[in-house]
Amino acid sequence: MEQPFDIGYVFHFIPKLLSTLGTTLSIVAGSLLLGLAVGLLAALPRLYRVPVLQRVSRLYVSFFRGTPILIQLFLLYFGLPELLKQAGADISKTPVIVFVILTYGLHAGASVCEMIRAAVTAVDRGQVEAAYAVGMTGYRAFTRIVFPQAIAIALPVFSNLLLALTKETSLAFTLGVMEMTGKAQSLTTLTQHFLEAYLALALVYFAVCFTMEKLLLRAERRLLKHERQESEARKRFRSWKKLQWRRYSPEFPPGGRRQGYEA
């Protein structure tokens, strides 16, 4: 039977949900690390146009970007043990969370691959040429000149990716993982306070994502300090103000005034 709304339960549920925050964050951290590694590996053959591998990479990316994460979870969870059984390996005792991290890792890897490709391509070609002209090797030019600039360019995209990943991990409950959404589910069955539980859950996710966003924004500002010049919009605003000033101020620049008197 559903119970009448009681705000007290929201505050009661929050600490209970927070007790599973660790699980959620482990899934996020694990799959992020895996995603960064896989994404970099997938991006390299595309950037350097390695014949066969770049096709593999393209296929991988389009599969994981082109199918729903929920289906990917099921495919890996049910499909991988089957596949390995054919090969003679028994993984039926592997904890569910491993499958979850694997799926989210591969899923994130596809976006990371695209992110790295876009960012590296966005670094001006002239930067590499200058590095070569100074005498750097290809490796040095990449690590000292291209990569630091690419990271700064990629950070806003990375930020989105991390937030999306964090929210998407809520689907892990479908495989019975006791992360925050799973916990909220069990709280509702226990108490019948649905709305309170999901409200509490929303608040916790929001707080987590909000914190991440702020931290990343700070990192972004630091990494992009070399681009901290006036933005185009601001520049336009300033010249507009100057224009206004010229038009309405009784004071003309000295040169203009003298000319005015002579004329």
């Binding site: 001006d124 002239g126 070569y132 002209a133 005498g135 070399h226």
Partner: protein
Amino acid sequence: MIQLKGITKSFGRQQVLKGIGLTVEKGEVVVILGPSGSGKTTLLRCINYLEKPGGGEIRIGDCRVDCRAASKKDIRELRKRTAMVFQQYNLFRHKTALENVMEGLVVVQKVPKEEARARSVQLLEKVGLGAKLDAYPSQLSGGQQQRVGIARALALNPEVILFDEPTSALDPELVGEVLAVIRKIAKEGITMIIVTHEMGFAQDVANHVIFMDEGVVVEEGRPNEIFTSPKEERTKQFLKRFTPEGVYSI
């Protein structure tokens, strides 16, 4: 001494350099002139292997490279002996003026950091940017960026500095400051190859002028020979466009 022999380069079917030969003595300032598309940039980029020549030979000091069989090491040796000042400055965007100048010294030449810093500060002061050591390229004007670019090239202490139209991306009022710096270092006996469309500057900074067209050297000689009495018809045609009247009749 720098010597190029029979340098060729094609992009697809189009042959851009058709066997260029030239010799630059130590301390000489060579200016390369020529109409747009004649292959000036490509030639400079071949010298430090930003562009791989199809054939020919490059010799810089004691380093001799056969372009048909250049190894990675050969290319590195060429790049160690040359420095380039780019039309678009190409300063490292994530590094300050000082770091830009230091980068090659520390990373490539393995000069100790303190020494590299001292040398870089000195060079930046020389190009008139002693007050901008910690500015990022995005905070500098085009003229200032290009002067950092020149300091960065000087820092490497190369056998030759290659300039590819160092002032053509600049607003007219900033051209002077950059040309002044180049003039100053020319007087110090640094070997330079300069591609430029600034005729007045070319005339008084050059020891030797080369006129290129369609991938070949059409004519070369001392600046007053080339500017006052060119022998080839193509050179005459080209220079006519830069006489004072020509400048104003757009």
